[in-house]
Amino acid sequence: MAVCIAVIAKENYPLYIRSIPTENELKFHYTVHTSLDVVEEKISAVGKALVDQRELYLGLLYPTEDYKVYGYVTNSKVKFVIVVDSSNTALRDNEIRSMFRKLHNSYTDVMCNPFYNPGDPIQSKAFDNMVSAMMVQVC
């Protein structure tokens, strides 16, 4: 269902990015990259209001003609971005949330790996498989 899933480091560079139509990967790079503007804006807006009970899920970042871009930010400012096809109207907000939760859990597993250096590109197979499952899975 997702066409592109990206994990972005605190310093705003990609730790992981994968998209389904691989031939036009750069397009998704641009999509995700520009979505960071909105993420930052949202974070800073939330930061002013309630620091403690922050909602990690940022919701729809922006819709484009073909895609919807959703964002999620962890407490350590690692960002998850999921790009979903606009035509897929069946997708509910709750499902997106659960996808992010799964992504977050899997990312936590990656971080728990003592051989993984935070800040390096993610090369975990388990993470990769989980992302693949999310992309293929049809809701």
Binding site: L36, D37, Y62
Partner: protein
């Protein structure tokens, strides 16, 4: 209306649009100079009221936009200022006509117009016309501004009249329906009398009046009118005009809230307007930021109309409401033809939101604006649209979006559909996107730590920069960008991409080699040089010491540098630690001026192909340094690869290696070590000492392949080898050549024998330095010679293996003592061996060759380095293979006839494969065949070892007695050897040497060779008698016999009793002792000797009388009951005396 004005902002609603245009041919620069002066009059205070008029100038305005003037009056061109150049009066009518033509274009909406004529003088210029101003030249037009002000005031009068006309028109019978171009046909045949229609007319007119009020500076009135218009239009569902009314309302509110304007600094209007002198009134610092509470704002100068003050708070929209109303207003989308209006409204709303810092909502407006379809746009319009989107995104802080659209705009500049792509513009726009992609073109930003940023998009951008700069025709620029790409993005490039990038880089550099210069672009942007610190990657930098032979050494002064230790403690961990820190910077060896010095880099090639690095050299500071660049080729993805860079320091002092320079793919780079991450270095500063001479050694002997044992402790540059037979002496000629540039002034030579287990007799190496030193100082290129004598004397005799070898052949010699003369039977074996000498000598496990090694150490100095107290060490290794020549398998002694002498029996074995002659001091030559063993006897005088000086032994008390004894024995051996002087010669090889018995002498032999401590002298007739001496005497004469005992032992000896027994030897084994009738003793034949103290002697006399002639022997015997049994027997060995008794002399007989 199709051309949107992206520069629009809400404030523009209150401005009057004046078009300034050139008529005829006017130089562009002159026109814009005049235009700027005109445009500086952007704000006019009306004299008798406090209203302020704002003017917007355009030098280009599409007439079809003018048609929308009724919809929003600020779109209406109300004034025209024409600028023309007219040289002669003849042209004037024509010019005037053209001016009128121009007026026609905007004629329907123009309130007034002006013509500025330049260059015309004379009578035509004299005529006084209000709408025409004449100036002699572009430089002489001081009153342009005043003219424009007059013109604006005239515009105001018309505007005010129109406003009043429309405003008071309410009660009038018929209100005309205002409409926009595309609406006109919709209203054909509509019932103009219906209430609905009337209301529509009323609403639209209200809105129009509101616009006019706003333009005329009556903000409050405008608000009221807009509110009414909104009510009216809402009721009749006239959405397009409702939107316009709402937008008007918003604009008025914005103008009220943000008197500073919403255009912002970055969105300056196209021809930048110089801020008018009275702008202070309007631009209050910080006003933009402040959300002014409308109710509190009473002293604002915009309107002094107190009556409207009451309604102000009510009529004016709050900042939040402004956005709500804008959202509502942007329902223009219902009308396809109003796209431009919608787009402009969006832009205006975004600008307002940007000031309110509500980025999210602004982005929504922008997102909406992106989708507004304006139909077919020209390429230029597309570029403009993308640029403005980028600018607006930048305004709301969405840097990435901004960069994205800027990049799209850049790509649009060079779209394939454009016949003449604007690569320059594209490049410029691309450069502007850099911050959005958090990319800096300063390579320093990337040198520290890991890469930060979105590599994929950054790489794409760099590729585009490279391409654009290439198409711009600036290869230097593309080389710089490509180098940057390669340097900073290396980790993210795939192997294929690496190949492609380097290939194109090589292509570019073939035209324009990359340099380390800063490239400055036309707009002042500086492109810093890119150093390829990753091609190759340097892991460690190590300054190498000079080769051992060239290392400078400091002469230790007597006081020593140890005085420099500051701490009173001998050892402290703190100072050691501190010293360790120091060492990391300064290296503890020195380089020498004028000598080639080396720095070793460990590098590796990260590329998947062979990397050719050219012109790689060192960058240094401190002393003058001549770097000798190297070229290298690193295999693909090599491991760590050592590279040695060399150079020659030309002056003395302290040198620091700062980095290195390379030339890779045609790009030269200077890489400084301090900017390289992860480089290990053990210090980069080293001392250069003044120049020293260089000594080269050539010897007469061949070079040795052997390296000296590592245990020798010293590194030896060269070593020579020689094969010698034991006992041989060889001269080693050493040629000393000064190959340096400094004179060689001093030379010292020492030698050191490498520790061996072999026992070495005699002096191994000896030399005399005087001759050589007399040739000093040795100028560069000069040669001196030195002779060193090599003398080998080793002990081969004790070799069990060799003896074993001798025993091991087929012929049984078991049971035979080795010293037996029967050893000669071995001869055939050796002959058989001679048939295949190489196999047997080498194939056998046992190699009788012994090895001696020594080091000759030359210490030399000269030149400026000498005065500084430095010298150099040069070591020459000497490897000597000693082959056994002759050796003595067995030594024994036989007593000689004299007690002072004895025979030394030596079994001489020739272990060489050559015939060999052995000669002793006074013996015949003894010829030995190969492998032959013969016994030779040498008569030797016994030795008095007591005369030998005791070995001077300071450490006597520490060495064991055994050692002392050994040394003593060695000294004795040396003494014996020197007396024997046994030489050998191999005639076939013309080699000769000494044979030494030192090793084979054992204690027993030594004892035999030693003179007894009790020395007995027998004198007959006062003559000393010994074995072979025959004493003569006459029959009948008394023969005095004297026996003298000299005690050389350390103890007192005696007393002894001696008996003299004469006998005759018949030479047939029969001794006749019955001589009582022949010989008589006068007195006793027995002597008594009292005890003799050391070094004393005792003499006892007796007398003999021979009665007959004959040969007699005297045997002097000790009495058996002598009390001196504890002394060794051979101490009491007295010479036998041989006396020949002769007839008395004939004379006496006669």
């Amino acid at each position: 209306m199709s051309v949107p004005d992206y520069m629009q902002c809400a404030d523009d609603h209150q401005t009057l649009l004046v078009v300034v245009q050139p008529v005829g041919i006017v130089p562009e620069d002159q026109f814009f100079r005049i235009y700027k002066r005109i445009a500086s009059v952007s704000q006019i205070s009306i004299r008798d009221s406090q209203r302020v008029l704002f003017i917007r100038y355009r030098h280009h305005y599409p007439p079809e936009n003018n048609d929308w003037g009724d919809f929003q009056t600020h779109r209406k061109v109300v004034g025209l200022i024409a600028v023309t150049e007219c040289v002669s009066a003849k042209e004037w009518p024509q010019t005037s006509d053209r001016f009128h033509d121009h007026k026609e274009v905007y004629g329907s909406t123009l309130y007034d117009s002006r013509l500025l004529v330049y260059g015309l003088q004379g009578e035509v210029a004299e005529q006084a016309r209000t709408d025409v101003a004449f100036y002699p030249s572009y430089d002489e037009c001081e009153d342009v501004e005043r003219r424009v002000e007059d013109f604006i005031e005239s515009l105001f009068i018309v505007l005010e009249s129109k406003r009043l006309d429309r405003a008071t028109d309410k009660s009038g019978d018929k209100i005309p329906l205002l409409c926009i171009p595309f609406e006109k046909k919709d209203f054909v045949g509509l019932d103009t009398d219906s209430r609905h229609y009337k209301k529509r007319c009323q609403g639209r007119m209200r809105k129009h009046v509101g616009d006019l009020c706003l333009q005329a500076g009556m903000l409050q009135d405008a608000l009221v009118h807009y509110h009414m218009a909104v009510e009216l239009l809402r009721s009749v569902n006239d959405f397009l005009w409702l939107g316009a009314a709402l937008e008007g309302l918003c604009s008025a509110s914005v103008i009220y809230h943000y008197p500073g304007g919403t255009a912002g600094k970055s969105a300056a209007r196209k021809p930048s307007i110089s801020v008018p002198a009275d702008a202070g009134k309007r631009h209050r610092p910080g006003a933009q930021e402040l959300l002014i509470d409308p109710g509190a704002l009473t002293t604002n100068g915009i309107s002094a109309d107190t009556s409207s003050e009451i309604g102000r708070a009510k009529n004016c929209l709050s900042p939040e409401d402004i956005i709500e109303k804008y959202k509502e207003a942007i329902s223009y989308s219902l009308y396809k033809n109003a796209g431009v209006i919608e787009l402009e409204a969006c832009v205006k709303a975004v600008r307002v939101l940007a000031i309110q810092k509500r980025a999210m909502e602004a982005s929504e407006f922008l997102q909406n604006a992106v989708y507004i379809n304006l139909g077919q746009l020209s390429e230029e319009e597309k570029i403009q649209r993308y640029s403005i989107l980028s600018e607006l995104y930048h305004l709301i802080g969405f840097q990435r979006k901004s960069a994205f659209f800027k990049r799209v705009a850049a790509m649009q500049c060079v779209a394939p559909t454009i016949p003449e792509p604007g690569w320059r513009a594209c490049y410029k726009l691309l450069l502007e996107t850099l911050p959005g992609y958090s990319l800096s073109l300063d390579p320093q930003h990337f040198s520290q730590g890991t890469h930060k940023g979105w590599a994929a998009v950054q790489m794409r951008l760099l590729h585009e920069l490279v391409y654009a700069s290439r198409r711009m025709g600036n290869p230097g620029l593309s080389v710089r960008h490509l180098s940057f790409l390669l340097q900073t993005m290396l980790d993210f490039l795939s192997d294929q991409e690496k190949k492609e990038v380097t290939q194109s880089l090589e292509n570019y550099t073939s035209k324009c080699p990359g340099s380390m210069e800063v490239i400055t672009l036309s707009d002042g942007l500086k492109l810093l040089p890119v150093a390829f610190t990753k091609l190759p990657i340097v892991r460690s930098v190590k300054l190498l010491n000079l080769p051992v032979t060239l290392r400078p050494r400091k002469v230790k002064s007597l006081l020593g540098q140890s005085m420099a230790v500051k701490s009173p403690f001998i050892y402290s961990p703190i100072t050691v630690h501190h010293r360790g820190d120091e060492r990391s910077k300064k290296i503890d060896f020195q380089w020498v001026q004028g000598d080639v010095c080396e720095v070793q880099l460990m590098v590796y090639n990260p590329m998947p192909f062979e990397l050719r690095v050219e012109n790689m050299g060192l960058l240094t500071s401190g002393v003058e340094f001549e770097s000798l660049p190297a070229a290298l080729s690193l295999p693909a993805e090599s491991g760590l690869y050592p590279v040695t860079l060399v150079g020659v320091p030309r002056t003395a002092g302290s040198i620091t290696v700062n980095g290195y320079h390379t030339s890779v793919f045609g790009v030269t780079s200077d890489c400084l070590l301090e900017s390289l991450p992860g480089v290990k270095t053990s210090g980069c500063t080293v001392e250069v000492v003044p120049a020293l001479p260089r000594l080269q050694l050539n010897t007469s002997l061949p070079r040795s392949a052997h390296m000296l044992l590592p245990a020798s402790g010293e590194e030896v540059s060269t070593s020579v080898s020689v094969q010698l037979f034991n006992g041989e002496t060889r001269q080693l000629m050493i040629r000393l050549e000064n190959i340096g540039a400094e004179p060689l002034e001093t030379l010292e030579l020492t030698s050191k024998t490498v520790h061996t287990k072999e026992k070495l007799f005699g002096e191994f190496l000896s030399w005399s330095l005087e001759d050589t030193l007399s040739q000093f100082p040795l100028k560069p290129g000069q040669v001196a010679t030195l002779t060193v004598n090599i003398k080998v004397k080793l002990d081969f005799s004790g070799q069990e293996n060799l003896l074993q070898d001798l025993n091991d052949d087929g012929i049984s010699v078991t049971g035979l003592p080795i010293s037996s003369p029967l050893r000669q039977v071995l001869k055939p074996r050796v002959e058989s061996k001679a048939g295949n000498p190489p196999e047997s000598s080498k194939g056998g496990e046992y190699n009788p060759v012994k090895t001696l090694e020594a080091i000759l150490n030359f210490k030399y100095s000269g030149g400026p380095g000498h005065t500084e107290g430095y010298y150099r060490d040069l070591s020459l290794g000497l490897h000597v293979d000693v082959e056994p020549s002759v050796f003595f398998t067995h030594v024994s002694t036989l007593p000689a006839t004299s007690t002072r002498q004895c025979h030394l029996l030596l079994d001489v074995f020739n272990s060489t494969e050559h015939e060999l002659a052995v000669s002793a001091k006074n013996n015949e030559d003894l010829v030995l065949h190969a492998g032959e063993c013969q016994r030779m006897a040498i008569q030797v005088n016994k030795f008095d070892f007591e005369d030998l000086p005791e070995p001077q032994d300071d450490r006597g008390q520490f060495t064991s007695l055994k050692q002392l004894e050994e040394e003593r024995q060695q000294a004795r051996g040396y003494e014996i050897n020197s007396k024997l002087d046994i030489c050998w010669e191999i005639p076939s090889l013309k080699r000769q040497g000494e044979a030494s018995v030192e090793g084979v002498l054992n204690q027993l032999v030594l004892e035999h060779l030693q003179l007894a401590p009790l020395q007995w002298d027998v004198l007959v007739n006062g003559q000393p008698c010994d074995c072979d001496i025959v004493a003569e005497c006459e029959v009948g004469d008394l023969v005095p016999l004297e026996v003298k005992l000299t005690n050389r032992s350390k103890h007192a000896v005696g007393p002894f009793a001696l008996t003299v027994i004469p006998f005759q030897d018949y030479q047939n084994g029969v001794h006749n002792y019955e001589l009582q009738d022949v010989v008589t003793f006068v007195g006793s034949n027995t002597f008594y000797i009292d005890s003799v103290n050391p070094t004393e002697n005792c003499v006892c006399d007796g007398t003999l009388l021979f009665l007959y002639t004959g040969d007699f022997y005297l045997n002097i015997k000790f009495h058996d009951d002598s009390s001196s049994r504890e002394l060794p027997l051979d101490w009491f060995c007295l010479p036998s005396v041989h006396i020949k008794a002769l007839e008395p002399a004939l004379q006496t007989m006669l």
